[in-house]
């Protein structure tokens, strides 16, 4: 293939610009491409139509799966058309078996779902590479500008599906509403219909519409990459200069035939010399241009690939860059402060310091210490939040009661001293004594105090806010199931009543009642106490 004959503008493009170029290429050579596509794919389509209708999706998948093989003649057409050598359909069709069989197995198996399929196809088909060499080549090609290839695959598939659905919808939209079609029968009944044939045909149509564009876009990406890698544009620029030179060489002979004088010839020679002066770098190539005039400067067809000796290339590039044309020496004068002496010392100090820091293994320990500190801070923060909002939390989760800590028995209750020490040994006797002395209030107070003491110690939970009557209620509830303690409960209720009358109503109890209460205290509280408590505990 000849770069002279190239029908595109050769210049490095951005990836998506290359895709755009691919679309233009597909538009320009759409007719030959679609012709060969239909020619090679139609037999397969006929084959899919023969698949039983309840397996028609297999046919659709089969057509889709074969695409990498069916696309190869399209690429063949494109690769030649680009170099102004559009092959005719007949020759392409003849070539199809050889094109199709190239690495067909891998193409239809593990490479089938490769997203960069369109861009990779030319490596296989045009450069004829396989195995590790193909992999290396792909690695070079994919180094940049290959992401659109994946996007093209995705968009191509999406486009196929949308086209399929769109065409079906379009046909459906054209059906008049008067024709009452029972759609459910098509999908759910076993009734045979030719709907699947229509669907397959539409699918084939969608594939046919997208395939040329997909192949062309992939090829354009591949071409763009090669233009960049092999600097075709520079090559072409050189070629233009060389052509100009060769034309210049033809000019004197033309002039001779016009029988012009030697002086004019000499003038022409001067012009050549001038041109040589102007372009010293290409002078050599111009001299040798005679050897391949009329042929490509880079005379490698696309189908071939030659390995470059990298080291040699690198050396020659280096040698070229060493030349005076590529190097430039300038002398600049600037003012600069003299740096003080000690600066050097500090800089060495800092150097040492940073070196030390770089190798400092204590960082690990410091980091873990810091981590521990951070976690501690987090825990402290959580603790603080809990403490700060404890009232709110308590209000929210009031049901969750803390396990009742063994409460210290109250030492004073209702302002009264309710400890063992404050009470005399024999309550009844002492109370009776007080009663006989005429101090009824003191006697009742003693009885009530002693009762409270026993009540608190038998486990009744009495708070500051409880009144006397509430104490009696609490006691009644506490001993509700304890029949042995009922006399005690009755006694306490009676005592409470009398005590309230005395304390708040200033009403003295009758002498008999007071005596009764004093006498019965011991029998009610002491003798049954142990009994009742053990029973209460058991229950």
């Amino acid at each position: 293939m000849n770069l002279d004959q190239v029908t595109l503008e050769i210049r490095p493009r951005s990836a998506w610009e290359a895709v755009d170029l691919g679309l233009l290429m597909a538009k320009r050579w759409w007719l030959p491409m679609i012709k060969i596509w239909l020619l090679v794919s139609f037999p397969f389509f006929i084959f899919t139509l023969l698949i039983p209708d309840n397996w028609f999706w297999v046919g659709a998948l089969f057509m889709w799966w074969l695409k990498p093989v069916l696309e190869r003649p399209l690429l063949h057409i494109l690769s030649h058309a680009v170099f102004n050598d559009l092959p005719d359909t007949r020759s392409t069709f003849k070539l199809f078996p050889s094109l199709a069989l190239k690495q067909i197995f891998s193409s239809l198996t593990w490479r089938r779902l490769s997203p960069t399929r369109s861009m990779d196809l030319p490596v296989l088909q045009l450069e004829g590479l396989s195995g590790a060499r193909r992999q290396d080549r792909l690695g070079v090609l994919h180094r940049e500008d290959s992401s659109p290839a994946s996007w093209m695959s995705f968009m191509g598939l999406a486009l196929e599906i949308f086209l399929w659905i769109g065409i079906i919808s379009f046909i459906w939209a054209l059906i008049p509403r008067e024709i009452d079609i029972e759609w459910a029968n098509f999908f759910f009944d076993q009734e045979s219909s030719n709907l699947h044939l229509l669907q397959l045909s539409i699918w084939y149509l969608a594939l046919s519409l997208t395939a040329p564009f997909y192949v062309a876009c992939g090829f354009a990406l591949y071409l763009n990459r090669r233009i960049k890698l092999e600097a075709w544009d520079i090559d072409i620029a050189f070629r233009r200069i060389a052509n100009k030179r060769s034309k210049v060489n033809i000019l004197p002979s033309l002039l001779l035939t016009l029988a012009l004088g030697l002086s004019i010839f000499a003038f022409d020679a001067q012009r050549i010399a001038y041109a040589d002066e102007q372009l010293p770098a290409v002078a050599e190539s111009v001299e040798t241009s005679e050897e391949y005039s009329g042929e490509a400067v880079i005379d490698k067809p696309l189908g071939e690939f030659t390995e470059i000796d990298r080291n040699q290339a690198q050396e020659s590039i280096k040698a070229v860059l060493q030349q005076t044309e590529f190097s430039r020496k300038e002398m600049q004068r600037t003012l600069k402060f003299d740096e003080p002496e000690e600066d050097e010392e500090t800089s060495t100090f800092w150097k040492k310091f940073f070196k030390f820091l770089a190798n400092f293994e204590g960082f690990v320990a410091a980091a873990s210490l810091l981590e521990i500190l951070l976690w501690l801070a987090v825990l402290a923060l959580i603790g603080f939040v809990f403490y700060r909002y404890r009232h709110w939390l308590a209000a929210q989760f009031v049901r969750i009661k803390p396990t009742p800590a063994p409460k210290a028995k109250p030492v004073t209750l209702f302002g009264m001293d309710v400890t063992r020490e404050s009470l005399p040994e024999d309550i009844s006797t002492n109370a009776l004594k007080l009663l006989q002395a005429g101090d009824m209030r003191a006697a009742l107070a003693l009885l009530y105090r002693a009762s409270l003491f026993h009540l608190v110690h038998s486990g009744v939970d009495i708070h500051d806010g409880h009144t006397e009557r509430e104490c009696a209620e609490l006691m009644r509830e506490y001993f509700a199931k304890n029949s042995a303690a009922q006399t005690r409960v009755a006694y306490f209720v009676a005592l409470t009543r009398e005590w309230q009358r005395l304390a708040y109503g200033h009403l003295l109890p009758t002498a008999e009642k007071a005596q009764y209460l004093c006498v019965n205290w011991n029998s009610c509280w002491l003798q049954q106490s142990n009994n009742a408590n053990t029973q209460g505990a058991a229950e």
């Binding site: 009264m416 009824m440 107070a445 500051d464 806010g465 304390a503």
Partner: protein, 342 residues
């Protein structure tokens, strides 16, 4: 506790025994009468025993009641049956946004024939005044009740007129409909002795009520079956007896302690004023009377604390936003303030 009480005290107590006994008898009678009254109203207003009790307490303690409840729970029925029970006058004022103060109290009118001003007394000149939906009237009309509630008198054209004796205002308000209402000002709220929350009756009570109401031939509420048990003058004597109920020094201190606790309690931004102390003690006395007690116990105070205080405190914004009811805070106060110690 004062461990010793002097013999002198007991001697004095013995001397006063005769007076005590007559008081005891009168108290006994008063209690019976009050309980009869209670039972009579219970016959008509079914399933609202606590509400009836509190309204009676307010009547005996010369207080006024603010009843809060959704419509249809028998607020008007309660007032009418109460009025009928003691043969008192009853008038009802429906508070509307365009109600004027003179519509409640009365006004002076020029009589063309006699060529002189004559006073036209308003509905407030009665024994029981039902101010229905009191928060629907603007503040100026609500303020018309200030004088009559506190003093039991109304001043028209510079002349003061006594209202009926006994006099009691029962105001109702609806807790759910707040659109287009005027919340009662603090001065007005403070004049109500108790705020009573009237709630739906229990299922069995409701069934019983339905059966009874539908069995009536005219379909009324059986108000005509209520007997007039006493005269307005008897109510006045009930009130006097209630004022004679013994209150120990400790009870006074307890009442003051409870009310003062609302002023320093966290969660309450404005506590109750001194009027709350008076109302609480009077209500506790009336409660003791109803229970046939000749003296007030801390239990009576506790029982009356929430109805007497719940409309007098203003919760802090945080608690109000969280929707915590005033009752819950008052209950906490009851639990934590020490009961009287002897």
């Amino acid at each position: 506790m004062t461990e010793s009480i002097s013999n002198n005290d007991s001697i004095e107590t013995n001397k006063a025994t005769d007076a005590d006994e007559s008081l005891q008898n009168r108290l006994q009678q008063a209690s019976t009468v009050a309980n009869n009254l209670l039972n009579e109203i219970k016959k008509v207003l079914i399933g609202q025993d606590a509400v009836i009790e509190q309204v009676l307490i307010a009547l005996i303690a010369r207080g006024h009641v603010l009843i809060e409840g959704v419509p249809g729970l028998g607020k008007t029925l309660l007032v009418r049956s109460l009025a009928k029970c003691f043969g008192g006058q009853f008038s009802r004022v429906q508070f509307t946004p365009d109600l004027m103060p003179s519509d409640v109290t009365g006004h002076a009118m020029f009589n063309m024939a006699k060529q002189e001003f004559e006073i036209r007394k308003g509905p407030a000149f009665t024994n029981l005044l039902l101010a229905d939906e009191i928060n629907r009237a603007p503040a100026k009309t609500q303020a018309a009740l200030l004088e009559v509630m506190q003093e039991g008198q109304i001043t028209i054209e510079g002349e003061s007129f006594k209202t009926g004796e006994p006099f009691m205002v029962l105001a109702t308000q609806n807790p759910i409909e707040q659109e287009g209402t005027y919340p009662l000002p603090e001065a007005e709220l403070d004049r109500f002795m108790l705020k009573v929350i009237i709630d739906y009756p229990s299922e069995s009570d409701e069934q019983f009520m339905l059966r009874q109401v539908t069995s009536q031939s005219q379909g009324g509420f059986g108000l005509e079956h209520i007997r007039t048990l006493l005269k307005p003058a008897h109510v006045l004597s009930l009130q006097k007896i209630a004022e004679q109920i013994t209150v120990d020094e400790q009870i006074l201190q307890y009442v003051v302690k409870l009310v003062r606790a609302t002023r320093s309690w966290s969660g309450i931004s404005r506590g109750a004023g001194p009027r709350a102390c008076i109302a609480l003690l009077s209500a506790a006395r009336a409660y003791a009377l109803l229970n046939n007690n000749s003296f007030v116990t801390p239990d009576d105070v506790k029982k009356m604390f929430i109805p007497a205080l719940r409309h007098r405190i203003l919760l802090s914004p945080e608690l109000a936003i969280e929707g915590i009811a005033a009752e819950r805070i008052l209950h906490n106060i009851l639990l934590q303030v020490e009961a009287p110690r002897h």
